[in-house]
Symmetry: C2
Subunit: 574 residues, 2 copies
């Protein structure tokens, strides 16, 4: 084998240091054992297959506007891989791949899936890995991926094979840069691995390339631990499964600790800014006493006082049952769902931008009474976070607000009041936790490993079949891998428009927790029981071997109508 | 089988709700699979064995004073189990067991080890589980443990089988209460599972019972995730292995995230108040860029400014290498090792106790210049923690100070200064983490499962052999379980005295990180390399099956002189 530097092409070699870091890296035994973990493939790939069209598609909303924005792509049908002889030649292709946005476990397997497909079905192909996200496309920074280059990343977490970035290809100049690079590399196709924004961007690029008569096709892949990029044909985004299992391991441990110690309420904030899928899934896996779902809070128009009272009520009821401990799950984005908090933040942004904040507190007179009242009941540390942690535009950084501490202290104050009027007799003790970064880059679960590999393999097939503007879609995920279906869904069919600065912008709408969906309904039917009785489950660390290792998450299985996994193994002594 | 309530004796039934919670609990597949995990036993238990004496013992310090405090127990020899016919009868025993102090993974296995020993070797015996820690002994609150009662807790985390507590048996009245309960239950023996304090207490109880001519013997078991209860014959405390592996999984994930994102320095605070063993072990498992070891900081008399500068120096050097990210491990107890911080805290305690803190800040004039300077450079949130978070005695709660945030902000300020003079050109971004509670109650690793079971089995044998005042000691831990040695070490041999209120008090000295010990020396020899190059290892989630599942932690193996496990599997592409 060649030494690492020779594995890089010219452009790559200049910034090869970070790219080759894994190669010189030290592997744990578990990481090592994962390298050769065998991955099954959907059976359609076992024999000759062809791509057939589904029905024509429309848009998620405002189809007329979407049609105007995507004149070449709008309305194209879904693609489905089925057994049969294809007309496609197996000639060599030149394909690029890019990782876009935040990390999610499994990204490396998408890349190895594309690579293996090309090796298997289009011999002589070249796979370019664009480095550092979409900026790598615009700047033409890439590495030529080889078997040796890819091997150390198989079934491994992280995005460090080619790294990621948050740049967008937006301006006409940037589209032109991408075009120049695509032409220079003679790209037949490009796979964009990303979330809702990145896939919107992928579709715009697909439209642009087609309008410019470039041969370069663009295929998206659904990535985000938040689980909010999904539709009928794309049952889940990759990374969600692993991240939720990692958080649930930690939550399960904290539950056992809570029960053993018997004196703490643990307030656990979980990553997942927009939708509360992660929190809901972790609740289904672990059965906490209280779970706040942002979409439910918004739907019921709850104030922070309502939320505080709800928690305090459960704590008081549990006191009567002899339980002075518990576990409470809080989605990172909770405060985005509480209108009065949003109102306060927007007033603070204006006050801080326009004037001086005097130490004596006279500035507070500018707040409307509701906002002032809310500000005054916030704990000092949270007040500090609101006043001091500003982004470069001077705005409050909502993601930095430690919502779990805020709620914990508001609950403590409420219980103190109740104590004084004899409604509560215990001594409340809270512990706060934030489980976030440690879930984004874990070793992918068996499910995510296989799912990503199939997504990549499918993306390769779609590109070979001449498809563009589709998102790789792998279905029938409740069945064993060999029975999974493979195809592509028109990105335009996921889109709606938003009006920004007087113009329509296409957006893939985030899939929020649906209050009439099976996962939430399951949770809603059990939450009362969980709140008062202790039905804690501790999922333990992710196992890679054994019967339980291949099981997917509850959200996915419930959405697919597969209930069996939630049937509970109650171990009564009998 | 009988329903749960009938499994409890009279005293237990009244508070049976929490005790029986596991029985009505829901188990995850992994928890379930652990229930029947087979545990090997040291070979000495495979055939008849007897207890032989080692040499007479002394004390860790001040043997004359220890001899006065423990007239019946001082000087007794270690006990060693060896093959051979014993004179002991296998008659039924009445034994009590208690969990004392904070949780550590494996406690349930100590209890099941004692139980199985009694079932196997002393048929007809009764095992009483005292509930809620030493208070359960004093109040006579217990449950009679049965096979059905114990089964759901086998190889499970937590202490909830009988729960724990932090009470101590200290006053003459409390010793008398314990005596009354021991006599009422006709106890032949008592096993105290706890840390340094609890084992000191166990020894005082053993001495008291012996002086009162009670037949009740007392045996201790070494428990603490902190890893600071150990000596030559007790190579490690249980729970340390599992907790470090759980933290290392999280740290490894954060490392992959850091490398993939390429823009954050992660400041990770780890549980472990007194000694820095956990932080050191996690460093050996994961190879972070910077690891602060409290004992090293104290030995080199570093100030917080020194520590800040050291971190900033490494960050600047890494900038030159093109790395603007990294991972930094910080032991929870760090500030206890920095004299100037201790000084500030003690001054604050006095000021807050004696006077009024005016809003204008005039109170600060009471601080000595060094303390004032330190206070002023602390971030506002940390100042708040110092001023607002007080314990019931009005003292600063050191454990609540978020040292990782404090350091992060001090490093940020330092780098800002360097930027202004052109010594640093990057934009520093920090992320803080605290990994604590989620490590105390995880499913015990295979090592902790087996080690605890052997400790319990051995404790049973020592009690049957009439021993008292020993701590169960299982040795040769680098070898397969069948080759482990089993015995007991005189608790008095671990003791020294401290003078408190004019009296000598016996204490088991905490085992701190030894700067000339093998684990620290290994770390010290590599820390420079780790700081500048990225040698990250991601251990991944604890596996229960497979070659890697039985491996013990680095600290233990290095202290035993077994280096092999640290030989690195560098996966160069060759």
């Amino acid at each position: 084998m060649a030494p690492p530097s020779q594995l890089l092409n010219g452009a790559g070699a200049t910034a090869g240091k970070s790219i080759t870091s894994r190669m010189a890296s030290v592997y744990s035994e578990v990481q090592n054992s994962r390298l050769d973990h065998p991955l099954a493939l959907p059976s359609v790939f076992r024999s000759p297959f062809k791509i057939v069209d589904g029905p024509a598609s429309s848009a998620a909303g405002n189809p007329d506007e979407i049609a105007k924005l995507f004149p070449s792509l709008f309305g194209q049908p879904s693609a489905i891989l089925v057994p049969g002889e294809s007309n496609e030649s197996g000639s060599a292709l030149k394909i690029g791949v890019v990782l876009s946005g935040g990390q999610a476990p499994g990204g490396h397997n998408v890349i190895s899936g594309i690579f293996d497909y090309l090796q298997e079905c289009c011999k002589g192909s070249t796979l370019y890995g664009f480095k550092g996200g979409p900026a790598g496309i615009m700047k033409g920074k890439y590495v030529v991926l080889t078997p040796d280059y890819i091997y150390p990343y198989r079934n491994q977490g992280g995005f460090d094979m080619i790294c990621s970035g948050r740049d967008k290809i937006e301006t006409p100049e940037q589209f032109k840069q991408a075009e120049d690079v695509a032409m220079k590399l003679d790209l037949d196709g490009l796979v964009v691995i990303g979330g809702d924004d990145s896939n919107t961007n992928a579709c715009l690029l697909a439209e642009y390339f087609r309008s410019r008569k470039l041969k370069t096709r663009v295929i998206g892949c659904p990535k985000t631990i938040d689980g909010d990029l999904k539709c009928k044909e794309v049952p889940t985004s990759f990374g969600f499964d692993t991240a939720c299992k990692i958080y649930s391991e930690q939550i399960g441990n904290v539950m056992i600790d809570a029960r053993s110690t018997g004196k703490y309420y643990h307030f656990v904030r979980l990553m997942g800014r927009a939708a509360s899928h992660i929190t809901l899934e972790c609740a289904l896996q672990t059965h906490p006493n209280i779970t706040l779902i942002g979409e439910e809070v918004a739907s019921e128009k709850l104030t922070s006082k309502n939320v505080t009272n709800y928690i305090a009520d459960v704590i008081c009821k549990r006191e009567c049952l002899g339980y002075n401990y518990g576990v409470i799950l809080i989605p990172e984005g909770l405060i985005d769902f509480i209108p009065e908090v949003q109102q306060l933040i927007s007033e603070l942004n204006e006050i801080l931008a326009s004037g001086i904040v005097d130490e004596s507190g006279k500035w507070k007179e500018k707040l409307i009474p509701q906002s002032l009242q809310l500000f005054e009941i916030l704990p000092p540390a949270i007040q500090d976070q609101l006043m001091l942690e500003r982004d470069p535009h001077g705005n409050v950084q909502v993601a930095k607000i430690e919502t779990e501490k805020m709620l914990m202290q508001m609950v403590e104050s409420e219980l103190e009041k109740r104590k004084q009027v004899g409604q509560y007799a215990c001594h409340f003790k809270g512990q706060s936790h934030f489980f976030g970064y440690e879930g984004r880059c874990g070793l992918p679960s068996n499910f995510d490993s296989s799912y990503c590999y199939a997504l990549g393999y499918g993306a390769g097939a779609l590109l070979q079949g001449g498809k563009s503007g589709l998102i790789s879609s792998v279905g029938n995920l409740g069945a064993p891998v060999v029975e999974w279906t493979v195809g592509g869904t028109p990105l335009t069919s996921l889109m709606d428009v938003e009006r920004r600065h007087g113009k329509f912008k296409p957006v893939i709408k985030k899939a929020m927790v649906e209050l009439d969906g099976a996962p939430f309904k399951k949770f809603a039917s059990l939450k009362e029981e969980w709140s008062l009785q202790n039905r804690y489950i501790s999922p333990g660390p992710i196992q890679f071997v054994g019967a339980e290792a291949d099981r997917a998450n509850h959200t996915l299985l419930l959405e697919l109508g597969i209930q069996g996994t939630l049937e509970l193994m109650i171990r009564w002594l009998e």
